[in-house]
């Protein structure tokens, strides 16, 4: 019964769970006893704080942020436009689908390495982010278009509603939930692949470059600190997105 009372208060539960896992981490690092293998949470926070007073830290975050957003926005725009077109036209869908499947099945590392040959280091992460997010958004847009109610389309046809109005008032509201789901998934993935691409392409200021640097110098606490930066940013992004959607849906 006690557990149920605790679960009632969501915030307290969350904090308790967070403390529980931090404690596990602390105990594990004490048991291992080697900072290089597993730094303690306290040392990670220390590393984080000492990083946060450097301008390099903020510049790296800002530039990675820009890369994620750029890659993500491009994949959203292209994914939505092409997804809608392919959802409406069977032939174009069949034409594009093999390419999307191929991209989906290609290991991220292959894409990163290929991109390294094609682009300069700062652009590689953007391209990789775009290429990994695009199939998700495209697939969701196609699916959304296909789920549009045939009954409503018939109704619009009988009343000779013009095409732009049909798109704005039937198609777009119908695919909304599908796009939201696609965008949420793509956002989380976008951060991970962008940072992964940065590790290999090593642009001057980047989270990935710093991760790589920390690894080279066996600065495990710093490595963990940078990793938590990615996690926090990814979380914050998703949270912000969901918040915006909730606000839009209110209207």
């Amino acid at each position: 019964m006690k557990i149920f009372t605790i679960l009632k208060n969501k915030k307290i539960t969350r904090i308790t769970i967070l403390i529980f896992w931090l404690a596990i981490w602390e105990i594990a690092s004490l048991l291992i006893g080697r900072e290089v293998y597993l730094p303690s949470p306290l040392n990670t926070i220390k590393a984080f704080l000492s990083l946060s007073i450097t301008s390099k830290f903020w510049l790296s975050i800002a530039l990675t942020f820009i890369r994620v957003v750029t890659g993500f926005v491009i994949s959203c725009i292209l994914g939505i436009i092409l997804g809608i077109i392919c959802g409406l036209n069977r032939f174009l869908y069949e034409l594009l689908n093999p390419l999307v499947i191929a991209i989906k099945s290609t290991p991220v590392m292959s894409i990163i390495i290929i991109a390294l040959i094609w682009f300069q280091s700062g652009r590689v992460p953007i391209f990789v982010c775009f290429l990994m997010c695009f199939p998700i958004i495209w697939t969701n847009a196609v699916e959304g278009i296909r789920q549009v109610s045939k009954e409503l389309l018939q109704m619009a046809k009988v009343y000779r509603v013009n095409r732009s109005l049909i798109i704005r008032r039937i198609y777009i509201p119908s695919i909304g939930p599908y796009l939201i789901a696609g965008i949420t998934t793509a956002l989380g993935l976008g951060w991970k692949v962008t940072v992964a691409a940065e590790v290999l392409s090593n642009p001057k200021f980047s989270i990935g470059g710093n991760l790589y640097g920390a690894k080279v110098y066996l600065e495990s606490a710093e490595l963990f600190a940078w990793t938590s930066v990615v996690i926090i940013l990814s979380f914050a992004f998703e949270y912000l997105f969901k918040y915006i959607i909730a606000r839009i849906e209110k209207y």
Binding site: Q154, M155, Y159, V161, I170
Partner: protein
Amino acid sequence: MAIEIKNLYKSYGRLVICQDFNIILEENKITGILGPSGCGKTTLLNIIAGLEEYQRGTIKGLGGKTFSYIFQEDRLLPWSTVKENIRFVLDSIYDDQKAEKIANQYIDMVGLKEYAHYYPKQLSGGMKQRVAIARAFAYPADILLMDEPFKGLDLELKTGLIQSFLKLWKQDKRTVIFVTHDMDEALSFAHYIYILEGKPLRIKEKIRNMRGVVSDRF
């Protein structure tokens, strides 16, 4: 010019809906179509509206005609309010001001003035049906098709709507074709009544309605 359907053949695969079917639907008159469910009445309306193909036969009298259609289901946009739903069919043909005026007028007619800004999910089944009716009446079609338009409405409301419908019809005598299960309903406002049976679809009886509201008033 009346709508004249000749030698119509329609099938879904092996299922023959109608074969050598002939019917004449008078222009500027109200025609009621009665028949058991599943006899192909809805398919007939869909063919007239151009929503379904047919394999053989000719249909005269539909060239350049526009349609309003009250479907069996309300077919409202779930993310749009009552007024937006009606404006949806008006915005392609009228400017903003006129569309707004017409939408208000017909929302008023079906007694939903207070609900103009409600979403379909906030309305009862009967209210949604009334929105669909308002939408059909508001659209300036040559031919009005109705598939059990007053289904699920209580008697008082139904009588009221039929009254306003007849008033509207008197001002602007459009061709009306409606499907129903209810003989009394058909007798209360149709000029001609076809009793159909099926499948395949055929005419069992054609009645020229000499009593009721229609003959008394017009």
